[in-house]
């Protein structure tokens, strides 16, 4: 225990800025100056800004952003040794924690420990009420746990929004000798990074949630299926699982309750389709990631043919807090139909990109201008995509739509995985559409014809349009392709391509027509000149 604690953000982004090097250098310096009795250096994850590596000195509550070793040295020599704050390296607290200033307050349920504790130290998690929910759940009956989750109204945070309690109940009621809990951490949706930050910053929350889920439905084995590229998440999760075994939260006879649970991490190989739950199950089983026919749904026939609960990382991370504080507390946050919070990932042309957890029902405008700090470089906002790449594109008229699970039904604005992508007027609508479709074409697994061919044809049409070779028939055909692909595709991948495409065509039809007239208002698309024929003698 030391009076001064220094938190350094060592997450994937910061590591690229040199965070690990800076952290080690700082630790060496602290030893060199004999400061170790009074200063502890802790590595935590994202403190919220990526202009440099963020260093948070406590209890002074001062944030620094450093870019070089010399600056690290300066902070140690001046602030830690002599107690003088280094003004030129300091960053404005509002940039890191803008939540304090705005009308909608940040509510931290899922992210409550991120950037506060050392994720690799289980005792710090315990100090923040960690594993108390587990101990509480183990004293309840399994159906009481399910009832509590049902009452809380928690819904899947991966995008589909299926009621979590119901899913658990289906699995609990299915009869089988073995059941499984799977955590879907294959976060492949472009622009989404909330799961990574949760797993890097607070891996024990995910583990605790999974054990509770296992107890509730009678499963004794759990898998975390995680993207292979998420090196730090994998590392932190593996360490956390190891510690949890050591402390007796995993393994046999957990906390003397007689309940046993085992947990392992499985790595994905980077296919977008493996985020689809049945393809994910196939992948865990060791087969190639291809979706299965539904029904039967995983709660009845899932992993290795056994009843399986599959939940997103964020969903599971909500569970311990609901058990600990009760369903009524959870329902007091958010909207009646969509209780709780949502972790939003702000990306694109905004001043402050990053992650923020807000109550459900917050409007797009509040997220964008409140926490995002508005559009970058003084340009004009053109449109916003919500819910990930398979989400809707909306124009400026829909910025005041509240974001929750009903917003798709009521306003045609999807919540999805919580991505808010701001696009300014330097971008061309047709070019964006092409970009989106190229992604789907690339990620289509090829199992079913409509998706494999539909995405290809859509790409071809859009490519023609960006070269000013498209016709009015092309536009109608594009619409039809989107509709048919969505109607006839085998799984969620192909079924969702109409959402971004049709929302683009409907909301920005004018710009598509301009391309047929051979103009592009953003000056992104250009006519490609045909090569003059080379005359041969």
């Amino acid at each position: 225990m030391t009076p001064i604690t220094v938190l350094i953000s060592v997450d994937s982004n910061s590591i690229l800025l040199g965070a690990r090097e800076f952290a080690n250098y700082m630790k060496d310096l602290i030893k060199e100056f004999n400061l170790d009795p009074i200063v502890t250096v802790l590595e935590t994850v994202s403190l919220g800004s990526y202009n440099g590596v963020v260093i948070h000195v406590l209890p002074d509550d001062v944030y620094y952003s450093v870019k070089s070793k010399e600056q690290v040295r300066k902070i140690v020599e001046e602030h830690l040794l002599k107690g003088r704050q280094v003004w030129d390296l300091m960053v404005n607290k509002e940039l890191i924690r803008p939540a304090e200033k705005f009308e909608v307050k940040e509510v931290r349920i899922v992210t409550r420990n991120i950037g506060v504790i050392d994720p690799r130290n289980i005792e710090e998690y315990i100090a923040r009420d960690g594993y108390f929910a587990l101990s509480k759940a183990l004293q309840m009956k399994p159906d009481e746990v399910i009832e509590e989750i049902k009452k809380s109204g928690l819904r899947g945070r991966g995008g589909a929004g299926f009621p979590t309690g119901l899913k658990w109940e289906f699995t609990a009621k299915a009869k089988a000798d073995q059941k499984y809990i799977v955590c879907n951490a294959d976060e492949g949706e472009p622009g989404t990074f909330k799961d990574r930050l949760i797993m890097e910053g607070d891996p024990h929350t995910v583990i605790e949630g999974m054990i509770i889920a296992g107890y509730a439905v009678g499963a004794t084995k759990g898998y975390i299926y995680i993207r292979g590229e998420y090196y730090n998440s994998v590392e932190n999760l593996r360490k956390a699982i190891q510690d949890a075994y050591e402390y007796g939260f995993l393994g046999e006879n957990i906390l003397g309750s007689g309940f046993s649970f085992d947990l392992t991490v499985r790595l994905g190989a980077g296919a977008y389709i493996c985020g689809e739950e049945t393809a994910l199950l196939e992948s865990i089983e060791g087969k190639s990631g291809r979706p299965r026919l539904k029904p039967p749904y995983p709660p009845q026939v899932g992993l290795f043919g056994k009843p399986t609960v599959i939940n997103n990382v964020e969903t599971i991370a909500n569970v311990p807090q609901i058990i600990l504080n009760g369903a009524d507390w959870y329902k007091s946050i958010g909207t009646p139909n969509s209780p709780g919070t949502k972790v939003f990932c702000l990306v694109g042309d905004v001043n402050r990109r990053g992650m923020v957890e807000l109550p459900m029902g917050v409007t797009v405008r509040q997220v964008l201008y409140g926490f995002g700090g508005g559009v970058r470089g003084g340009r004009e906002l053109k449109m916003v995509q919500t819910g990930g790449l398979a989400g809707t594109f909306i124009g400026l008229d829909k910025l005041d739509t509240p974001l929750d699970y009903d917003s798709m039904k009521n306003h045609g604005v999807s919540l999805g995985s919580g991505v808010i992508l701001a696009i300014d007027d330097s971008h061309c609508v047709v070019d964006i559409a092409l970009n989106v479709m190229e992604f789907f074409r690339h990620e289509s697994c090829g199992k079913c014809t409509p998706c494999r061919e539909g995405t290809r044809i859509a790409c071809e049409i859009l490519e023609r349009m960006t070269k000013f070779e498209g016709t009015a028939e092309d536009l109608d055909y594009l619409r039809k392709i989107a509709e048919v692909t969505a109607d006839t595709s085998f799984c969620g991948l192909g079924q969702s391509i109409n959402v971004p495409l049709l929302s683009l065509i409907d909301n920005f039809r004018e710009e598509f027509l301009e391309h047929i007239e051979k103009t592009c208002r953003a000056n992104v698309c250009k006519a490609v000149l045909k090569k003059p024929k080379v005359q041969t003698k």
Partner: protein
């Protein structure tokens, strides 16, 4: 090999670990600033600082921050510390040996009585 077998044991770990986390909280009742200029260190400020940290944790006082600063300009009475409690005038003490530090914590922090024989200055330095 499992370390935690019951809720009671879980509570025990929490109580130990929470001390560490509480240390980081800002917005405390007050703070003790130890002057750690060259003069202070030469006069034994490091031992003083260590004693303060240990004594505070021994008494389970977690609402007082301990920070260090450069020389306060009172080199003739080093080691010096400044105790500033919220809503009160800061008090600078001189010749703070580890024993004196305990006295200051006991009487000033806990009982609210200024240790007048060690006091050097009232108010901002």
């Amino acid at each position: 090999m499992s370390k935690v077998k019951s809720l009671v044991e879980l509570m025990k770990i929490k109580e130990q670990a929470i001390q560490n986390i509480k240390m980081r909280e800002s917005g405390k009742r007050g703070k003790i600033t130890v002057a750690m200029g060259t003069c202070g260190i030469a006069a034994g400020a490091k031992d003083t600082l260590k004693a303060i940290v240990e004594y505070l944790s021994e008494l389970k006082i977690d609402d007082i921050a301990v920070v260090q600063s450069g020389c306060m300009g009172l080199c003739e009475v080093e080691p010096t510390i400044e105790v500033s409690l919220e809503g009160q005038e800061p008090i600078v003490y001189g010749h703070v040996t580890p024993e004196n530090a305990k006295r200051i914590i006991q009487s000033h922090i806990l009982e609210g009585k200024i240790v007048s024989d060690l006091m050097v200055k009232r108010g901002e330095v």
